[in-house]
């Protein structure tokens, strides 16, 4: 190509999170000259995670030394807790010998990834903000930072949920608040022994627990929100993700909602005595398949959160980020090999994603979030309440004939709202389930 002389790098990756690091490492391992750029001076300083990364993707990137990652606890006990005003109904599963996900601090985890990248020969530029992409003859051929222009054959955008670069070059539209979840979180210090006792974790083990809370906000019209809690070595994370459009329309503040959830009689004992170490907030893109951006253009690809790769139902994000970063790098490597960086060549990235679990899952889950969102009040209020009253009968021994109680329960289950609501719930449920399975 004519501008070969000016090119400094084969690949520039913008953003040093799990996606960017995975892309940089993959490209560097194959011998490409890679620059990884991060706007923060400390790696991971701009990043927040509910608590856990999935390890399968990490193992794919580091089959031999993934265990040296700064893992806090293996999250192998999961609880879903339906909260009504003053009670809970829970489902829990426990796999004490499985190590599929682990709680991490982004500052430590992302730094570890970047150190790995440096070991592989990746050039790392922290404290560097990319203001724009360099475009020549409609082709992206580098980045413009606050200080200089740096050229590359391929640029990979892994710059996170707010990716201004992807928007500026028309890969994505403006985000719709309906598709975004605003998550606030607190890291709370608790003694190790207290955590192990409270969450029923084997003493001295590296096992850990996650709890998700649905409902419990004591609001008549509840926003679509989900509480989460993860155990770390000697602290816990406790947070709440709330649909951004709901916050705006209902006049709510996410931190105040979290405070409300803290007061719930089932939640309060779990966090009691926890000293606030750090408060944080971050957006999660949950628009899914229907809101995917254009994934590549001449000389550029977008991956990870920047591409909206998140499955909100299963809390998958970091694994999508790592694998999509790997695919983007592999596609860049192919482009470098045949010296053609056009969109047509980089479509290989799209093809890889389509054949992988990432786009397959996003596609089959395309309507799930929307269905859940439309039935938020059922999910957040009605069913937790009904589950609670069912188990009150089941466990109550109320000296009333059970037949009478159960009949009464069924009567109220149907009669407490208009029948239309129930039908809408059933329709949403079936649409979600069949969407995934068909």
């Amino acid at each position: 190509m004519e501008d070969n002389k000016a090119q400094n790098f084969d690949v520039i990756v913008v953003g040093a999170g799990p996606c960017g690091a995975a892309a940089a490492i993959t490209a560097a391992r194959a011998g490409a000259k890679v620059l990884l750029i991060e706007r923060s001076s400390y790696v991971g300083a701009k990043n927040m995670i509910g608590g856990a990364v999935f390890l399968t993707a990490l193992k794919e990137l580091f089959p031999d030394d993934w265990e040296s990652a700064p893992i806090e606890r293996y999250i192998n006990k999961h609880t879903w807790s339906l909260l009504s005003d003053n009670s809970s109904v829970e489902i829990s599963c426990n796999f004490p010998d499985e190590f599929k996900s682990a709680s991490i601090f982004r500052s430590k985890f992302d730094s570890w990834l970047v150190e790995k990248a440096k070991e592989e020969g990746v050039y790392f530029a922290p404290s560097t903000l990319v203001k724009n992409l360099i475009i020549r003859e409609d082709r992206v051929c580098g980045v413009k930072t606050e200080l200089e222009e740096i050229y590359a054959s391929v640029v990979i955008l892994a710059d996170g949920v707010n990716s201004l670069l992807a928007r500026n070059i028309g890969l994505r539209d403006e985000h719709d608040p309906k598709d975004m979840v605003l998550s606030v979180k607190e890291t709370l210090k608790l003694p190790k022994e207290v955590i192990e006792e409270r969450f029923n974790i084997k003493k001295g083990s590296k096992n850990g627990a996650a709890v998700n809370f649905l409902g419990g906000l004591s609001l008549k019209d509840a926003p679509f929100a989900l509480g989460f809690m993860y155990t770390y070595s000697d602290c816990i994370s406790f947070g709440l993700g709330v649909n951004l459009e709901d916050l705006a329309q209902m006049g709510l503040n996410p931190s105040d909602l979290l405070e409300k959830l803290k007061e719930h009689p089932v939640v309060a004992p779990l966090i009691e005595g926890g000293e606030l170490l750090e408060y944080s907030a971050h957006l999660i893109p949950e628009g899914g398949y229907n809101k995917l951006p254009k994934l590549c253009k001449d000389g550029v690809m977008v991956a990870g959160d920047a591409a909206g790769f998140v499955n909100g139902v299963h809390f998958e994000g970091t694994n999508f980020a790592i694998i999509s970063g790997i695919y983007a790098a592999q596609s860049a490597l192919y482009a470098l090999k045949i010296k053609d960086y056009s969109e047509k060549t980089l479509k290989l990235y799209e093809k890889k994603l389509k054949h992988s679990f990432i786009l397959k899952d996003l596609k089959s889950y395309r309507n799930v979030m929307e269905n859940l969102y439309f039935r938020a009040n059922s999910l957040m209020n009605y069913y937790p309440k009904k589950a609670s009253s069912f188990f009150k009968i089941f466990t109550g021994a109320n000296c009333i004939p059970k037949r009478e109680e159960f009949r009464n329960f069924i009567f109220h289950f149907i009669k407490d709202r208009s029948l239309k609501e129930l039908l809408c719930d059933i329709k949403a449920f079936l649409s979600a389930v069949f969407g995934v399975l068909k």
Binding site: P177, S255, D256, E278
Partner: protein, 99 residues
């Protein structure tokens, strides 16, 4: 919940746990013309760091950009797309250590 019911103190206390490297210039630039006429100002209540507050007397939207957590919610939620949202200068802004 009305705006008065939002406990600002809670957030102020929480923000003291976060480290920042403050930029000397704001990275958040709301459009004064639009904001002064806005009937919702959802930025003043959805922001997890309470960056925005509206001064009825001066008719100005105050922006405490130093507290910004760089989440991007204000820009996306604003129905008039009136908030010019950028990242702070390289190396500046929020520094999460335990998140």
């Amino acid at each position: 919940m009305s705006e008065e019911n939002i406990k600002k103190n809670g957030i102020e206390d929480k923000l003291t746990t976060i480290k920042y490297n403050c930029d000397s210039k704001t990275h958040l630039v709301p459009d004064e013309n639009i904001c002064s006429r806005c009937e919702i100002r959802c930025c003043t209540y959805i922001c997890p760091a309470k960056v925005y507050s509206y001064d009825e007397n001066s008719g100005m939207l105050n922006v405490e950009y130093e507290n910004c957590l760089e989440c991007g919610a204000c820009k996306i939620a604003c129905p008039y797309d009136a908030i010019g949202w950028n990242y702070p200068k390289a190396g500046c802004g929020v520094i999460y250590k335990q998140s």
